[in-house]
Symmetry: C2
Subunit: 409 residues, 2 copies
């Protein structure tokens, strides 16, 4: 009547990522590009700046005119006029001459540096004193110093942050080619699960997973497609799974995946066309009774029904698969994690990875990670947690005071 | 013709946050609640679970029936039937009896614990062997163990994460009362700035700040309202500022805020009705020529024109103000920052906070922060940066190998 799982090492599970190709690309407005994954390389078609630009308010000069200048012995320069922002100046600067220039203004011919306004004083309308000498190249940006024509500036598979939208704006890209957001189907199963607008009779509970998983999918850059609650009936579940995999790039079904009385998930997945069960059980806790199937070229996950377990599996295992199909390349996946000191000893079973929910507490400028006690199924422990710590597969436990990496929740 | 700033300590600037009240609240669907800030306290109106629930697939028993059981000396129990998910069982369990129960199923009367299916074997249809003894309370969740009726579960000013949506689902909240997203007006000024779809003549540059700032506003939970590029003309700028402050909860204007030839911002802000200039210059680098005005009850910022400087000021100073008007309470603002070792000595001027862009490099399992050289105005340095490090106001510099906190970019 029941079989034990043949659990798979989490590393091996993550290795299956490459079986799932990225989704297609689409063009979006630059305003909507932040947070998306670039689907093309971006090569500069211009020098930036394409003119020599001042980085200060002051006077454009030939540096040589200021050599030896000091408070005690200022250089006297003749002011030939002003540079206007956004206009090419038609003044030629010779030794002993200066022109007023604002930050960002274009240097006139002959000038090679800028004297800061703070290091000068106007004697009259056409004469200034300069108190510091400036070397040629001071307070200017050279042509192409920011961006050189022909350079590869951004790469396919890179996540676009606000600064990358700035760079794309400088290049005049009104539209950007990004991977479309993957659509992630979400199904809840279980005869005890009811929609949240209903009142549970004793023995029923409201559908939590549809909400937690849909929030996590959005955080990961996907679009959740909600398929609702399905009873533990073979034909109904099969029909719902077929419809979900049709409309989605990946499907998450939660509940029913333990070796239990109502374990239809594995049977249903086996009946989907062109499907291989890749994983049935993962060596992690919580989250052991997780299923991964490959249906056509799409991942179909059976997640635990317990909300907290489903969230841990999502964060540690499912998320990298969504990133993979989103086009995010591993080398551009920057995850710099905070660390903290463990607040008490933790034991752990060897042969599996344990994910422990922790609260972070700052004491004397140091972060301490306090394990949250409580049964894994309870949603409350996830609400109280700031993050997870990972106890590795070959580790028996961690001692109080150990520095641990925090996976933020 | 020019005056020096009377720069304000960044701490003092941040202290002005409390001058700006949070925006109003609105109701949103629970599906859209993740990432938003709660505008009410959430009190539980139920016990969760409201029935004694099994956490395992197995057999519900009286623990006492299994005392002393082992592989060598199993306990024999009579199976009285099965618990059906989502239904209240009408079986009474006595000593020596068991009932099949799935994970999440409701314990029948008389049972006080669950034997895992792995620790039992069926002898025939009505008899099982049990190999482990279970204490009363094993593998069950008691009534109210997750959530107790009347408890304050979530508080006003707290950010809603996916797990909080799960908790709200368990409570049956289809709609949630959250602060609405603040609308942040964005204006670019400068005669040299052109829209990104135009081709710059020499001496012009495309509008970068509208894009970087709008991306940062979205990341911070606000809605950017784009007011476009305004020439450095007093009347035009004044009209645009009036219109922006009317439609927005806060306004960011970039460019024109240095003590320069085109410094209209401060003049324009002074002419807005019911306005106080709170700050004119901040002791940070980059970002010194920043202006903060209070117009009616709204913050009006003058940010530097250089894209990188504007981004640093946003991240270090403006962001906490947006969080404040978003209703996020300081005690719920969880910012756990990764640390790294500084890769080379850095000197810094005392009397100001320096923000240094860094690249993070992993070497032998340790993160090193490599300062990025380059002029502050260049957008390229922001694209290359993984984060900022902060050199404090009274610090002369940092030595190679110092552990530094990373502000992620």
């Amino acid at each position: 009547m029941h079989s034990f799982f043949n659990v798979t090492d989490p590393k091996e599970v993550l290795g299956y990522r490459t079986e799932f190709p990225p989704v297609a690309a689409e063009k979006v407005s630059l305003f909507d590009a932040a947070g998306r994954i670039l689907a093309v390389d971006i090569v500069s078609d211009l020098d930036l700046p394409d003119f020599v630009r001042s980085t200060m308010d002051g006077y454009a000069v030939c540096g040589a005119s200021t050599f030896g200048a000091s408070e005690a012995n200022p250089a006297y320069l003749t002011v030939k006029g002003s540079v206007t922002m956004g206009k090419k100046p038609d003044i030629l600067i010779r030794a002993g001459e200066a022109v007023r220039i604002p930050t960002g203004g274009m240097l006139p011919a002959g000038a090679d540096s800028v004297v800061m306004i703070e290091h000068s004083a106007a004697i009259d309308d056409t004469t200034i004193e300069v108190y510091r000498s400036v070397a040629p190249g001071t307070h200017i940006v050279a042509i192409g110093e920011d961006i050189g024509k022909g350079e590869i500036l951004l790469s396919r598979g890179q996540k676009i942050r606000p600064q990358e939208t700035g760079l794309l704006a400088a290049l005049g890209k009104k539209k950007v080619c990004v991977y479309r957001k993957p659509r992630i189907g979400i199904i809840s199963t279980g005869d005890e699960i009811i929609p949240i607008n209903e009142t549970p009779n004793m023995s029923q509970i409201r559908d939590i997973n549809t909400y937690t998983l849909s929030g996590l999918v959005k955080e990961t850059g996907g679009i959740p497609l909600i398929f609702g609650i399905v009873r533990d009936e073979f034909e109904t579940l099969l029909a719902k799974c077929l419809s979900a995999i049709e409309q989605s790039d990946m499907v998450l079904i939660s509940g029913g995946s333990s070796v239990g009385l109502h374990d239809f998930t594995i049977k249903v997945l086996s009946c989907l066309p062109a499907t291989t069960i890749l994983v049935h059980g993962i060596a992690i806790s919580p989250g052991k009774p997780t299923i991964l199937a490959k249906t056509q070229k799409k991942a179909f996950w059976g997640l635990p029904g317990h909300a907290a377990s489903a969230m841990v599996v999502f964060t540690s295992i499912v998320k990298p698969f969504i990133e993979q199909i989103s086009g995010l390349k591993k080398r551009y996946k920057k995850e710099f994690r905070p660390t903290a000191l463990l607040m008490r000893n933790l034991s752990s079973a060897q042969g599996r990875i344990d994910y422990i929910r922790v609260r972070l507490i700052q004491k004397d400028g140091v972060y301490w990670a306090e394990p949250i006690l409580g049964k894994s199924g309870l949603i409350r422990t996830m609400v109280e947690a700031d993050g997870l710590i990972k106890i590795d597969i070959h580790t028996e436990g961690l001692e109080k005071g150990t520095e641990v990496e925090i996976i933020p929740l």
